[in-house]
Symmetry: C2
Subunit: 266 residues, 2 copies
């Protein structure tokens, strides 16, 4: 791993700040909940401009390491946080959009992660976790549900399982991956015709997965999760005939556009 030496041998000013913060974290002098020194103060002590400090703070913010609040006292300032999931989501979403991560690759990773989550959930799931998942299931059971709401509940269900697994990295990655695929999948949904059939399959898939986890059957849960994701993906990509696809009415399209998940940083 090389240092970042853009042009000359001089590190950039904001990198000095990053290096300083890194060191504080590595040496345990800064932890979640602690405040960074005030921007003016930090700038003076590291002998860089305040702009450089702010650029470093933006970097840390983009990595989900820090969050800033205006105002004096404990309520203000830049605080070490612990919300990697948003940062991961945005990172994956951008790179999926840039086609650095092809969707089939993403699917394979998602299967690997959710298999792990399913297995862990059979061991670690608390009653509360199961209740969350069950709630999502009930939403999806509504026969009059529209595609958007179903998709949201679907996401909720999978995230609930990932959370139930009790593995923060796995659940954050799972949530991030689902979010990164949200737009591409929505795009495919738009042209999907046999919605009723697909939604029926998804519903029964979910019920079966939940049942397996509830009865603590790890192997079956793992198997079902993989089968579920694969078949759902196939239903969205493999097109037996053009007859399956038709454009949606304009007004319905508009409703979906409105739900854009344009989360930014903090």
């Amino acid at each position: 791993m090389l240092h970042a030496m853009p042009r000359s041998g001089q590190p950039q000013a904001f990198e000095l700040v990053l290096a300083w913060v890194d060191a504080q974290i590595l040496e345990g002098r800064l932890g979640v909940g602690d405040h960074l020194p005030a921007e003016r103060e930090l700038a003076a002590s590291l002998d860089v401009s305040r702009a450089a400090v702010r650029e470093a703070v933006r970097t840390l913010q983009a990595q989900g390491v820090v969050n800033s609040f205006v105002g004096a006292g404990p309520g203000g300032g830049t605080v070490l946080t612990s919300v990697p999931s948003r940062a991961l989501s945005r990172l994956l979403r951008l790179h999926v959009a840039l086609a650095n991560f092809p969707l089939p690759d993403v699917i394979e990773v998602r299967i690997a992660l959710e298999r792990l989550s399913a297995r862990l959930a059979t061991v670690n799931a608390s009653d509360d976790d199961l209740a969350d998942a069950r709630r999502a299931l009930e939403v999806m059971r509504d026969p009059s549900i529209d595609r958007q709401a179903f998709n949201d509940a679907d996401t909720e269900f999978h995230v609930a399982l990932a959370t139930a697994a009790g593995n923060r990295l796995a659940s954050d990655l799972t949530a991030a991956i689902r979010e990164s695929m949200r737009l591409p999948i929505l795009d495919r949904f738009r042209h999907l015709r046999d919605w009723d059939e697909v939604v029926g399959d998804l519903r029964s898939d979910h019920e079966a997965i939940f049942a397996a986890i509830e009865r603590r059957d790890a192997d079956e849960a793992e198997r079902l999760v993989e089968a579920h994701i694969r078949s759902a993906w196939l239903a969205l990509t493999h097109v037996p005939g053009d007859a399956l696809f038709e454009p949606l009415p304009e007004d319905e399209l508009a409703a979906w556009e409105g739900a854009e998940g344009g989360d930014l940083i903090s």
Copy 2:
């Protein structure tokens, strides 16, 4: 997913820039290799200060989406890139250091990812990929190798397998996870006494994994990878007795410190 509305309802200036870039990417008007408008130009057209644009660029840089170069013409400017691995590494490393991601959780995810990689590698590995892995194996075969070099070759081997799998997300995540664990593992290595025994086990593990992949035995490769990672982790954590641990000589410690992986952004 909510928008980031820190204080008032007004989005921050740099978020306007991020939103603009996002839109360009989503709508396909910007792709890898394209140049962002010059900072002054972008600032003028979005009616924000240049500082705001720069903060947005830092955010994108932290996400591995962009890279900046000084100077005029095609060689200069801010360019859309496709290097998510460094960004992922830094993100994971920081959050592992902040204990947002407990190491046991990271290990479980690593196993899931490397099992996937091993399976895919039995299908997709090219001769070149296998040659890379073989080279790392040969380095590790050297009986007089020191811990640092062995660890590097070990990383190389696993990354080579992940690359051989042909799944960019899986390989980038694998590399990032390994990097994020580098310092913590080095920390444990420092106190490990029975190095010769451990290194022998690791060596034979690697050889067996490679052989399984070479003969295209997916199930066995998967099984061996999981067993390997678990046993290696156990060797580093599970301490049968304090006799296994002893501090290293000072000079050896210093050599390790020098290899700090302080990669920053670009």
